[in-house]
């Protein structure tokens, strides 16, 4: 009950406002404008008769401090219902809101941005976007240097202008947040050879189908542990895609020999060493 009364008090003081029936007095001219010749301060135009009936009561109304103002009870009930609704009943949880915000951020980052491309060139712009999504990127001039977000969360030092000689050769997208729209960036890279999609939560059949259709310079594609892909996505990589997918089964399963892998190993870009991948769920189980 005290709660309700407190609400009433806030409501009544806040809603007491000046009635529009009162004519506004014009503000007096100050400074240089006041001293201009031929212009005197206007007299406030107060009409002869004021409508005093309701206004006088309103302007001079006392503050509600004690007692129960029965006329405002409905408004108080509304306020109380609103407050209860805000705190208890919600159509979507707060987790849902946070997830939704994150999802929208990812969509925004991986959407193709022509302004960025004009400023930095396709390769550097793509590197910036991919790095923000959690990938590591290797350029053609220094293939052993992977540029990615550091442990502290700092973005790497990418070139600040367009360098036409640079080309991305390898992308290591372990645990990255790539979605199907990011293929818009990948298809414009002129010499992308190595793409590693491992444990990517948003990689689905659609992304694989787009990759197969658009990325023609790929030599190696790894899709492991991506929960969103199904057999249909793998099937869409046929037949060119067959040569792309590495056979890491050999390194994981002792004694297994798969034909046709040898020509895939002859590459200038070193793969991110799979033996050193300590984040793999299975490396602990399979280590002898």
């Amino acid at each position: 009950l005290n709660f309700a009364v407190a609400l009433h008090a806030t409501v009544s003081t806040q809603t007491r406002r000046q009635s529009p029936l009162l004519l506004k007095q014009p503000t007096p001219l100050r400074g240089a404008a006041a001293q201009r010749p031929g212009q005197s301060q206007d007299k406030p135009q107060v009409p002869d008769k004021l409508f005093t009936g309701r206004i006088a009561k309103w302007v001079g109304a006392p503050r509600v401090t004690e007692g129960w103002d029965m006329t405002k009870e409905h408004r108080g009930d509304l306020m109380r219902a609103m407050l209860i609704g805000l705190t208890t009943k919600s159509r979507h949880s707060y987790d849902d809101k946070i997830i939704r915000k994150r999802y929208q951020w990812i969509k925004q980052v991986q959407a193709f941005d022509t302004v960025l491309v004009e400023k930095f060139g396709v390769e550097v712009a793509a590197a910036d976007r991919l790095v923000r999504l959690g990938c590591r990127v290797a350029f053609s001039n220094s293939p052993n240097d992977w540029l990615g977000v550091s442990e502290t969360g700092a973005l790497p030092a990418l070139p600040s202008r367009s360098l036409p000689s640079l080309a991305i050769e390898a992308i290591d997208a372990r645990d990255a947040l790539l979605m199907s729209d990011s293929v818009d960036w990948l298809e414009r890279l002129r010499s992308l050879q190595f793409l590693r999609l491992r444990r990517c939560p948003f990689v689905d059949d659609h992304l694989l189908a787009r990759l197969a259709a658009r990325c023609k310079t790929l030599k190696l594609l790894e899709i492991s542990d991506c929960p969103g892909i199904t057999w249909e996505g793998v099937a869409s990589l046929w037949p060119e895609g067959l040569a792309l997918v590495p056979t890491q089964l050999e390194s994981l399963v002792p004694g297994l020999f798969v034909e046709g892998v040898d020509d895939l190993l002859a590459l200038s870009v070193p793969r991110a060493a799979p033996e050193a991948d300590s984040e793999s769920v299975y490396s602990a189980e399979l280590a002898p």
């Binding site: 249909e232 099937a235 037949p239 997918v245 089964l249 994981l252």
Partner: protein, 548 residues
């Protein structure tokens, strides 16, 4: 306003007819319950669907029920893919009451679950291309669009593979023109020469083919029943009321329009009489009614007086039967070992093309034979990369189903050329359809499908029919394209019928278009004003050329 500036051509003509209107209904009776209607009157000719008995508009006693929605803002007749899509878009954009009336909640004879569920952008009309692009974008993000809070996001088993449309010399030029139109609208479709097709798919017979068009993106197939369920679930979560009942008739009210000296009276659709499963008839008053009845849309339009007192032009939609066959085709050129390693990895051959699928729990790896061996093996059977083949000249459709060497095929006989001299119902080789029976005909496969199949894919001479089913097309006998828009006489009746086999892929776009018609009275996303009901009155055909 009755004399507004919108599409009033039909109504204006009707109004100018004035008292001549009375000649159209012999006794001048106008609404249900008017005894003048049946006095000395010969029966109005109706299409005779077995199972739906001929009626001459008897009166019904309406039984009230508290739980039954007796009024709504928008009534959707038919709860198939298009009906659920309309309900979803309407309830998504505005907080209005939407009621969907569906007589068979198990969808045993509905067109949606019995279709093959393919989506493609390879059409010749720009509206169809745009609707498909919109639909494919929606399906790509379906986990986002149709997710209901606290339930698993929907999965429609979407397989992203392109369509391959094959054209012989007669159709090659049309295919080229269509391809340009598709590319202009943003569809990614590549033209392929017969040599290129032979190289990519050695098992395909391209000896009589001049040109092929292969869609590289935004095409594929999915499970239409799962799609329907996802739409329905999302609509229900947005407070759409689904009512089980069969539409018996409409109720009309006489509306009087006055301007100055001129005045005329007109029947206005007021309520729908619905027969519920407990055999009681109830009425639903509506503001707007959407005809999404699929193959039986012509009957629903007839109940509203379209073709009778609401204008002489009928809605030319009727059910047509299509048989779909599930085939198995596999030649054992290579043994299929199943290698199971102690660590949990497995390896198995996939088809005779020398492809193997290997997996280790969630990891998926694909390995293949060296190129020379693979080529030798791949010449025989269609493999995993088989596209959805559509042969325009013969009307054959063929697609892969699953990974075990199964295929699904059907024949959609195209209307014979030339377009202008076509009579509306003279299409050869159509199975007989009575609107009720859904029994597949295996002789039809031997006579119609197998010759076309064996000619196109030679290894399918020895194919085995594993299964078959039959489904209805909501076939537009006039020009086999969608009829969408308001009726010129009945302002509150909106059509979205006659997709003739493309309803499932255009359902999303059609639903959005109808919701925009209801809310804004104009199209906002895709302009479908060319496909209005008025083209039936002016006899303007919008027919797909070079596409089946």
């Amino acid at each position: 306003c009755a004399f507004g500036f919108q599409q009033r051509s039909g109504r204006a003509l009707w109004q100018l007819g004035g008292h001549l209107r009375r000649l159209c209904t012999p006794t001048g009776a106008r609404f249900v319950g008017d005894p003048k209607r049946t006095q000395g009157l010969e029966r109005v000719s109706q299409p005779s669907w077995k199972g739906i008995e001929n009626k001459d508009r008897p009166t019904y006693t309406v039984d009230p029920d508290e739980d039954f929605p007796d009024e709504c803002d928008a009534l959707v007749i038919g709860g198939g893919a298009i009906g659920c899509s309309v309900a979803y878009w309407l309830s998504r954009q505005v907080n209005c009451n939407v009621v969907v009336v569906e007589r068979d909640p198990a969808y045993t004879r509905a067109a949606s679950p019995l279709s093959c569920g393919g989506i493609r952008q390879q059409f010749s009309e720009p509206e169809n291309i745009q609707m498909s692009l919109f639909g494919s974008q929606f399906l790509r993000n379906i986990k986002e669009n149709l997710a209901v809070f606290d339930l698993d996001p929907p999965d429609i088993c979407y397989a992203p593979h392109g369509y391959l449309v094959l054209a012989d010399e007669a159709n090659a030029e049309t295919l080229r023109t269509n391809n340009q139109a598709q590319r202009k609208l943003g569809a990614k479709v590549d033209l392929m020469s017969p040599e290129k097709m032979k190289e990519t798919w050695p098992w395909l017979n391209v000896s009589d083919i001049a040109l092929g068009a292969f869609g590289t993106e935004n095409e594929g197939w999915f499970d239409p029943y799962l799609f329907l369920q996802a739409l329905k679930r999302k609509a229900v979560s947005q407070n759409v009321k689904f009512v089980v009942g069969e539409l018996l008739d409409f109720e009309f009210s006489m509306q009087r329009y006055v301007k100055g000296d001129l005045s005329f009276e007109q029947e206005r659709l007021k309520a729908a009489l619905v027969k519920c499963p407990d055999n009681l008839v109830r009425n639903i008053n509506f503001g707007v009614v959407v005809n999404a009845a699929g193959p039986w849309a012509g009957h629903v339009a007839h109940l509203a007086g379209v073709g009778d007192f609401a204008g002489k032009v009928k809605l030319p939609v009727e059910p047509r039967l299509r048989y779909v066959y599930h085939l198995h085709c596999k030649e054992d050129l290579f043994p299929t070992p199943l290698l199971n390693c102690p660590s949990g990895a497995y390896l198995r051959a996939e088809g005779p093309g020398g492809h193997y699928i290997a997996g280790l729990r969630q990891s998926v790896f694909v390995v293949s034979l060296p190129p020379h061996a693979a080529k030798k093996a791949a010449a025989a059977t269609p493999g995993i990369d088989a596209p959805f083949i559509q042969d325009v000249a013969s009307g054959l459709h063929l697609r892969r189903d699953g990974f075990q060497g199964d295929f699904v095929t059907y024949v959609n006989p195209p209307p014979p050329l030339p377009v202008d001299q076509l009579s509306e119902s003279a299409v050869p080789d159509e199975p007989e359809c009575n609107g009720v029976d859904l029994e597949p005909d295996y002789d039809w496969f031997d006579k119609q499908v197998w010759p076309r199949l064996a000619h196109r894919v030679p290894c399918m001479e020895a194919v085995k029919v594993r299964n078959a089913w039959a489904g209805f097309y909501d076939y537009n006998t006039f020009d086999q394209n969608l009829v969408i828009g308001r009726h010129p006489f009945h302002e509150n009746l909106i059509f979205c019928n006659g997709s003739s086999g493309h309803g499932i892929q255009h359902a999303v776009a059609i639903g959005r278009a109808v919701s925009e018609l209801v809310l804004f009275r104009q199209y906002k996303t895709i302009d479908l004003s060319r496909m209005s009901f008025e083209r039936l009155q002016t006899a303007t055909r919008i027919r797909e050329t070079g596409i089946i």
